[in-house]
Amino acid sequence: MSIEASEPTAATAGTDEDGAALPEWLVRVILALVPILLALIAGAVILLLLGRDPISFYVNIVRRGLISWIGLQETITRCAPLILLGASLIVAFRAGLWNLGVDGQFLLAAVVTAALSAWMIQSVPSWVVLPVGMIAGFAVGAVWSLIPALLKAYQGVNEIVTTLMMSFLGVSLANVLIKIPFNDPNTTVPQTMTLATTDRLPRLFDTTINIGVVIAVVVILIVHWVMTRTAFGLRLQTVGANPKAAMHAGLSVPLLTVVTFGLSAGLAGLAGSVEILGVWGNVRADWNPAYGLAIIPLVFLARFNGIAVIGFTFFFAMLSIGGETASRRADLPNYFILVLVALILIFMALTEWLNHRRALARRV
């Protein structure tokens, strides 16, 4: 299983010799939007079959997730961890590595950040606590990827298996940490000590949106720029597209593999930190949003393009925020929104297949 490097690389973007057909970028936009549209149509058919009004369902989603002021703020706030996870996955996928352990890295970093910041705040001001918490989260994520990274780099062990296993271990370890060393004795539900609302990430103007989303957008733009424009990014992409060629060109493939894992997992950890420092202030033992696995298809839909990931993430956040209300109003289970997500995946695979056939036909 390898990640097809069908997306544009640093220097292939730009003019295409294909004069008659559509420009390449437009094809990509269409390829990304078509599955979403088809999924919405298919979802409407399912809603009709269930005797619900699809139009009012979709209107409710948009009204709650986008148009209502409270909903919009929730949507934007939700974007922060998703975008950071997107950035994390872009680094890994562009380098041809499957970091499927982002959820473990995320949760473990969240727990450590929560415990550390709640403890530190007793003696230091919050403007110190917050950056230290984020750095700690990054470090925890990176460390948690070390075993898969070293195994992949020096033994060639398949990272899909190891990162997934480490993810389960990470989630379990996070649970242990919450229940034993970091447990807040004053609550009945096991959870870490809580960082007071006033000590969390500052909010933007007069909203409930914290600056986490700004951090996330800046980070993903930097990641996008590094991956597409810099020598470092090109080296990672070379390793991803053809490790033998990378070795032939004198790149240290094992070293770059470890660095890639460190960056990717670090960003996943940062996502956990930002979510805790911005929104929750603590981690409860039953909290595991598993954003990582939800975001993977979006990163593929966006073809590893950071800017596109921001757009898709916003759409997904709106769908999940607005979908709760819309499902309730339509008297459907909360999980109905997952049906839409599944449909997007199915149509995404179909479009991908058609595109692959198109690519085959172009080969001389």
Binding site: T9, A11, E17, D18, R235, N242, K244, A245, G250, V364
Partner: protein
């Protein structure tokens, strides 16, 4: 007509082609892969389709086997105009294809591989499969170990299984795409016998190749493709009248025009001049341990002077690749030294050696030489990522990259729509030109070429050899590793022979060289 029962040749020759390709054109962005091509394929006849890399053979085959549709023109099968809409449809029409690259599952047995094509909703019938295998094997005059794992078979036998599979449903047309490219000389002979049996059985065979002598040896009829067009053919009558040499000469004229024979380029500098030139690259007791699966290299000693071409001959797999990689820095040197202009570089990295002027042109052009999805521009700088002026403060300067690529594209005559084209879309010859352009750019001192013309067509072979010789004449110390003895003899000033990971002898390239190198290659006159 679903049976392979032998029929006498000639009698069934009704002069009606079983497949008729009529004025077929296929365009790809920027290229016309097939331009108004017409072919007639007759039962009981081997139709050799000859052409250089990128001449359009693969496209034509893809249309016959249902992978591609023609933009215009028609394909008639048994007299009716037919759309071959899919590979499955091609099989239904009785057109079986054996592709250049293996399509069978190496971990399954021969029998299991043959059962794979059965409809999904039917039970697999071992007995029937076995019977059918025996039937086809008898027709082909071969015996296959039915229960052996496919991966354990020789490449020749694996190909026989592919042929059996392509004829499984009584196909009457068999397309063989570069069928000899992976075979040993013995394997080629065996294939020849199989082809004879098929011809006798009345099967129409399309034999695709880029090798002249094979086209003449196997073909009853030869069609020549060049740049997407059919530039000529030889009918069975013509082939029968001509001697093989004359036939080849005729074909060469059709393919390349009159001027094509390469002159020996070696020795354009006099020996005395060479001997006074400084030694550029030298090894002393060089060794590299390559593990148990590959040949290790030990005790290799040679030196190469400025302007000299040092050929390294040997049967494939005697440590040539490992030696090349050790010289280039891709593989650690585990003993001895390597010096460039007198400085020991045996501990330096690939990049340091590259910067110092040591270049390595790999034989694995797509596998390790290039990144197929990257643009030509980036591939031209693959070994210089991060260097000024193409990257400033770590950021790519696209204008500079493009300008650099355009200069090299022009200097080395790389045929491409532009520097932004992914290099994987170019033909093999053009990828090799791009690779040569990259390695010869920026003042090389010493260049190692590993099988520099492997898989190229005659024109590109000449082009590559001339480029190698020109570089040497400009004072570059040159190492040419090749399994093609003619190539070594044409290019080299001196020749070293590798056997079992050692350099068993170094001879001057004089009149006697061919015999002595040949003996050394098989170990005659080598001290144990």
């Amino acid at each position: 007509m679903t049976d392979l029962s032998p029929t006498a040749p000639g009698e069934t020759e009704t002069n009606h082609p079983i497949v008729l390709v009529d004025g077929v054109t296929k365009r790809f962005p920027g290229v016309i892969a097939n331009d108004d091509v017409s072919l007639a394929i007759y039962p009981g006849e081997v139709h050799a389709l000859l052409g250089e890399n990128g001449a359009g053979k693969s496209t034509l085959i893809a249309m016959l086997s249902g992978m591609l549709q023609p933009d215009s023109g028609q394909i008639h099968v048994r007299g009716t105009t037919t759309t071959i809409s899919s590979p499955r449809r091609a099989l239904e029409l009785g057109i079986g294809t054996v592709y250049q690259h293996p399509t069978l599952v190496p971990t399954l047995t021969v029998l299991e591989n043959l059962m794979l094509g059965a409809p999904w909703n039917q039970r697999m019938n071992r007995a029937a499969t076995r019977a059918r295998l025996t039937e086809i094997s008898n027709t082909l005059g071969i015996t296959l170990p039915e229960d052996a794992r496919l991966g354990d078979l020789s490449l020749g036998q694996q190909q026989q299984v592919e042929i059996v599979k392509a004829l499984w449903r009584g196909e009457q047309v068999l397309i063989l795409d570069e069928a000899t490219s992976m075979l040993t000389p013995k394997g080629v002979d065996d294939l020849g016998q199989v082809i004879d049996r098929l011809r006798t059985a009345g099967i129409a065979i399309v034999f695709i190749t880029h090798k002249l002598n094979e086209a003449v040896r196997f073909g009853d009829r030869v069609s020549i493709l060049k740049l997407g067009q059919k530039v000529g053919d030889l009918t069975p009558q013509q082939l029968a009248e001509l001697s093989p040499e004359d036939a080849i000469r005729n074909i060469v004229d059709l393919m390349f025009g009159a001027a094509s024979q390469g002159e020996s380029t070696a020795g354009s500098e006099s020996k005395s001049e060479l001997q006074s030139a400084p030694v550029v690259l030298a090894t002393q007791r060089l060794a590299t341990f390559a593990g148990l699966d590959e040949p290790s290299v030990t005790q290799v000693e040679f030196d190469v002077r400025a302007g000299e071409v040092f050929g390294i001959a040997g049967v494939d797999g005697n440590g040539q690749k490992q030696l090349a990689e050790a010289l280039a820095g891709q593989r650690p040197i585990t003993g001895g030294t390597l010096t460039l202009e007198g400085r020991d570089i045996s501990r330096q990295t690939v990049v340091q050696r590259q910067k110092a002027g040591l270049r390595y042109v790999t034989d694995d052009r797509l596998g390790e030489g290039t990144v197929g999805t990257f643009s030509i521009g980036v591939n031209m700088l693959l070994k210089r990522i991060g260097d000024d002026p193409f990257w400033r403060r770590g950021t790519i300067q696209r204008k500079e990259v493009e300008r650099h690529a355009e200069t090299l594209i022009e200097r080395h005559d790389v045929r491409t729509p532009g520097p932004d084209t992914p290099i994987g879309r170019l033909s093999g010859g053009n990828i090799q030109k791009a690779l040569l352009a990259r390695e010869l750019d920026n003042a090389p001192l010493a260049v190692i070429y590993n099988k520099p013309t492997y898989g190229l067509d005659a024109n590109n072979i000449q082009f590559a050899r001339r480029a190698i010789r020109d570089q040497a004449d400009q004072g570059v110390a040159t190492i040419v590793i090749s399994t093609d003895l003619d190539e070594i003899l044409e290019l080299s000033d001196r020749i070293g022979v590798m056997l079992g990971g050692r350099m068993v002898g170094i001879v001057e390239n004089d009149r006697d060289a061919q015999r002595r190198v040949g003996e050394l290659m098989i170990g005659v006159g080598v001290a144990a």
